[in-house]
Symmetry: D2
Subunit: 410 residues, 4 copies
Amino acid sequence: MKIIKDSVHDHIQVDGVARALLDTPAVQRLRHISQLGTVSLVYPSANHTRFEHSLGVYHLACEALERLGIEGRQAHRVHAAALLHDVGHGPFSHNLESLTYRRTGRYHDDVDDLLADGAVGDVLREHDLDPAAVAGLVAGEGRFGQLVSGELDVDRMDYLVRDAHHTGVPYGTIDHGRLVRELTFADGELVLDEGNVQTAESLLVARALMNPTVYSHSVARISKAMLRRATERLLEASEPDIDAATLQRMDDHDLIAALRSCAATSEFSRRLDQRDLFKRAVWAEMNDVPGGIIESDHGMIREFEREISDRAGVDPARVILDVPSRPSMTESTTRVMVNGEIRQLGQQSPLVEALRAAQFSQWRLGVYSPRELRDRVGRAAVDVLGLDIDGALVSEVRNGMDATLDQFVE
Amino acid sequence: MKIIKDSVHDHIQVDGVARALLDTPAVQRLRHISQLGTVSLVYPSANHTRFEHSLGVYHLACEALERLGIEGRQAHRVHAAALLHDVGHGPFSHNLESLTYRRTGRYHDDVDDLLADGAVGDVLREHDLDPAAVAGLVAGEGRFGQLVSGELDVDRMDYLVRDAHHTGVPYGTIDHGRLVRELTFADGELVLDEGNVQTAESLLVARALMNPTVYSHSVARISKAMLRRATERLLEASEPDIDAATLQRMDDHDLIAALRSCAATSEFSRRLDQRDLFKRAVWAEMNDVPGGIIESDHGMIREFEREISDRAGVDPARVILDVPSRPSMTESTTRVMVNGEIRQLGQQSPLVEALRAAQFSQWRLGVYSPRELRDRVGRAAVDVLGLDIDGALVSEVRNGMDATLDQFVE
Amino acid sequence: MKIIKDSVHDHIQVDGVARALLDTPAVQRLRHISQLGTVSLVYPSANHTRFEHSLGVYHLACEALERLGIEGRQAHRVHAAALLHDVGHGPFSHNLESLTYRRTGRYHDDVDDLLADGAVGDVLREHDLDPAAVAGLVAGEGRFGQLVSGELDVDRMDYLVRDAHHTGVPYGTIDHGRLVRELTFADGELVLDEGNVQTAESLLVARALMNPTVYSHSVARISKAMLRRATERLLEASEPDIDAATLQRMDDHDLIAALRSCAATSEFSRRLDQRDLFKRAVWAEMNDVPGGIIESDHGMIREFEREISDRAGVDPARVILDVPSRPSMTESTTRVMVNGEIRQLGQQSPLVEALRAAQFSQWRLGVYSPRELRDRVGRAAVDVLGLDIDGALVSEVRNGMDATLDQFVE
Amino acid sequence: MKIIKDSVHDHIQVDGVARALLDTPAVQRLRHISQLGTVSLVYPSANHTRFEHSLGVYHLACEALERLGIEGRQAHRVHAAALLHDVGHGPFSHNLESLTYRRTGRYHDDVDDLLADGAVGDVLREHDLDPAAVAGLVAGEGRFGQLVSGELDVDRMDYLVRDAHHTGVPYGTIDHGRLVRELTFADGELVLDEGNVQTAESLLVARALMNPTVYSHSVARISKAMLRRATERLLEASEPDIDAATLQRMDDHDLIAALRSCAATSEFSRRLDQRDLFKRAVWAEMNDVPGGIIESDHGMIREFEREISDRAGVDPARVILDVPSRPSMTESTTRVMVNGEIRQLGQQSPLVEALRAAQFSQWRLGVYSPRELRDRVGRAAVDVLGLDIDGALVSEVRNGMDATLDQFVE
């Protein structure tokens, strides 16, 4: 048994299969993957890693299982899945996931191979656990998969509180103790017990407030887009030495070092290192963006970028078009017991619809460029994309407002 | 200058007129008025007082004024109003306010006399401040009154954080530092500066989540209703020795002692002291309550209670009907700058409408009685009030659910 | 089972005998006994009660027993003792303990009668527990008594953290999680396991820093002395209606109301209510106090006071002599495993001796009087007690320093 | 003006010269230097960086200067020094400082060149500040240098609280608000004002408790020694490409990448990455170590290591001898006002001597090796160094105790 001191959950006790997994390279590697990637360029204290988060998820899973009365092999499988649920992450966690997915067809929770091979596979089998079953839990499959990856999973409970602790933004401070205590199974589904509509809403609201303030803060988005672009160039310049699969197994240090030493990416790398970031040339609400653009695939976006840089007469490397996908709200299907029957939160709470609407109103298409080109690039982007010019352009004319928007960023 | 250590804001520096007001009996009295009244019967750590809250409000007012660049007499007036804003409270703060209002016609923020008389009046005049002007600020009048009592007042910012700290319920943990920093004046109105729709929403959400979980928790409501009923009986039994005006100037100790020693109230008092509370016989949603009942005035409610006790064949002192007023949401008029214009939060944010709807869905009419009479009283109340019996009754049949509802209470 | 939300330990789960004891009048009464008495006149947020502290002690006891592998009847006895350990406290906890002890011969942990009688006795017997055995644990007897009342008891662990939380003074923030985890039994003694000299020292240091900053802050001492004096006068004026045994069963509200309504104490009561406190006329280090004075019993102290007031020509009610007893340091016998053998902390750690010396250097004899009499009373006291005048006198000449000393008080 | 959200101090406002310095590469580089180096191998949440710490130090310096009434150029110089005080750090902060000092003759606070050159020099001169004067403050020179680097500096106040927040170990939670408020100048010296012996002691105690628990935890020491050894080998293998000056300007990513890719260090690097650390073969108290060994210079230590490995018959790369220098306690000269005169804390407080003694009793000489060689290496080291064998050897025989010692490590 090992006791680990954690800044969020205080003491975490690690036993059994989790104790053995802790010492595997795959888990230790998570010490070098930052939890929030470029968010630390906005909130400088946000340097926590996937390692401590994984410990936290394991800890909450243990508590939940104890409440649910689950023991033995079934519990051990969930323990393993909780500790391993993020081993599939590449450097900078979600920041580069769209890029690696495009090239490998795999998301971070597709971990069948990673759990079957090497030290992790050995440990699991020594503890009589089937790697494929554990990988299934990580992917959210089955009755207990909901606890690891679902609307009410312990992953979310840990990251909201942890991200609040490390950014200093209090919105994520949910009552995770209550959430874990009130979980129960009804008809094979993980639900919150009677009297917890409020509790479910609080989880929803925490994410809805953390999202624009932390996860999708404009500066975090800009730097993420720059990192993604730099990494694409790195792959183009370095293949086959560095391909997407190699990238996926790197950690933050590897990628940063690679970006610094590759001629094609050193300028992006310098900008990220020195926080000399691109600025918003365009920042457009959904209403100001013509239909279809939001559905653009990667190829179309690169094509738009080329057109914009052509029209603006600037180097294509100086223009980034950032089109977030249509907002979704998985929490709407969170199940809560109300007067003895299972209800979906979306049926029960008017907040779900409101928060969905809020997400749509917060959605922004961004076009980024170096500060000195912002004006030219902005006008070109408005033309090429057919945006509403009044709503979209972040020009010098509107510097005043922009300064204000920038005030709460580091 | 005095430095006071506070568990919420750490060090509070008290200067000038505030320093002199601190030593007045009217302000020191607030040490003996609990902030949340009977909520401590649900959350046992919630024993904080109006005194420390008043210091916190003063502290945030100082910070806000500094940010707004307000100095001199204007600032001192606000300092005084912030520290004095709660001196009009009677014992148990809001718990008995409807009762004293009915008999005196005054709410707690009607403090003209209190500020003009005695030591407080002397201190204000010595510092060249007009008591009437300070009382005006407490009542929310004028440009700076909004800071003391309005949608964006520092009162709310302090109590949400403080109540969260003392109850242990994290929902009230707003980012008060940011709120105070982002206040500005536009067209004479106190507004949140550009880029703060989110910030305004977070204030709204905090209150919306604290409300059912803390302020209107069913056990807090039951005990408040019992306290109110006991105090009414005390007045009836003790007038003219104790009348509403006397009551209003008591503190918690005075009232508790009076209730204990008065024969007419000693049973209520024993129940409150020993937390041997009435239970819900009826707990009805708005839809299950016939039109008109929600508008009942005090006389009608007493009349309903008599009818219910008659029909149930129990002592009228054993039945309490508790009809909250129709929910309102003052925060909907919070003003936020959006793209250079002042907007009301209700126009801008879909959350406002959703939270309003949530308030309506959380509204409950309650009928309370001793546990052993719950069944008889509940059936009688359903008949007398014409409630929908399936939705309203909290009978033995539904004990299971009720137990669950009670689980998270102390 | 009941879940109670606590501002310090978050969720406290109350089961079995503790659940039944919770609803007894003796335990509910603790809601009305403040934990720190007059300390709230220095730290205004310190309004926590013996009730929430008792829940916290119960919670830590459960955790410790679980770690120690103790179950069944033995554990239930400790659960009961933990929850009941403070039911013997009178109003304002320790503030009046010397007074009631003098008249009743009982300290607050002498609870044989209280546990045998009434609802508490009934509950214990219903759960097959012997009230006398539980009272023995409260008095620190036997193997498990050490856990409830000893050098390593959970009482201390809870109050240090709780008092830190509520005063805002961080010095008490010990690592109670680690302390509870590292407890073990060796040769029938409760010890801290190998590798925890540091952990034991931290507990010692926390108390050593909290002591002068919080528990023995000069303003807390002055107001406590005033309260004690007022209560003595109340007993003298009201016996046999209010005798020491009656007093002991009062709560804070009862005593405050009694002091307010008794002519002989109303002036003290007004001063305490309005924080119009006596000031230090003398504040003398141990070296400046002639031998023997520190050993004075109550009669001698009253005699000194009369002599001082005579010599100063002031009303005897205006002079209070406050002579703390010689410091002790029970933690020095805390047992810690070092290289496989049990050692006393005092043998192992040089800190123990240093903190004992610090306690002696912080010891102060105080003479208190109304501010305007401070000079006359101070000089008279110096003469009567034979103090070193330069060290002891807090005269107008030294007002500057005194003001500084007062700065960090509310 | 920029507002930065910090997890420790909440909002930090950055103005003037600090605002301009923030964007320089030298300051942004600190984002990539971990504050506590290998301590994160013990406390996994301790991933904070020199960047956020520097902001915190700047913040506290601003508060202290405001209290001291210092404005204008003088203040700006201190602001700049506070933000820049750590730009001289190499990768992993103090972990490698002895190594780089040996080769460059410079400690991290020797920053004359760094402040005179490049963007930092430009910014300072643009703001009319002399880089040499700012560098002098960083080195602790002059009246205000004490605030940046001295017994009462804001550096220490920030790091204690910050390290406590991120490790979860509460011992560092000092009352920095009070410390900053109570600073004053007397006879040109920075002192704590009257009534703050306790406050000074609390700072001392915090460091004394954090030291063995965090900064010198055995696992942190082992991993630091491994990192140092690896880096030495890197320099030996890579010079002149990577020399000590180059190393000093690297950040954590650069060094980690270099260690991974260099054949001579890849095994150490793998061990550090996977936390497959050396174990203690010897762990000897000062009394068990012959005179003179503690004074050994680097050459002598390497010679001892060679002798030990020879005698044990193992590869010299498998033996590390770690001899900490003799403990010192700079805080003993902290100045505090007592009764109107400046006293050194060491004269006033018995704690200083006790903590000094505690440091000596906690001192340990370590010999580290791979687990499987521990026994052979331990016996060889006892012989070569002439240690007392009973006290020093951490052999298999004593595994039980060792396991316990290891329990609280991650």
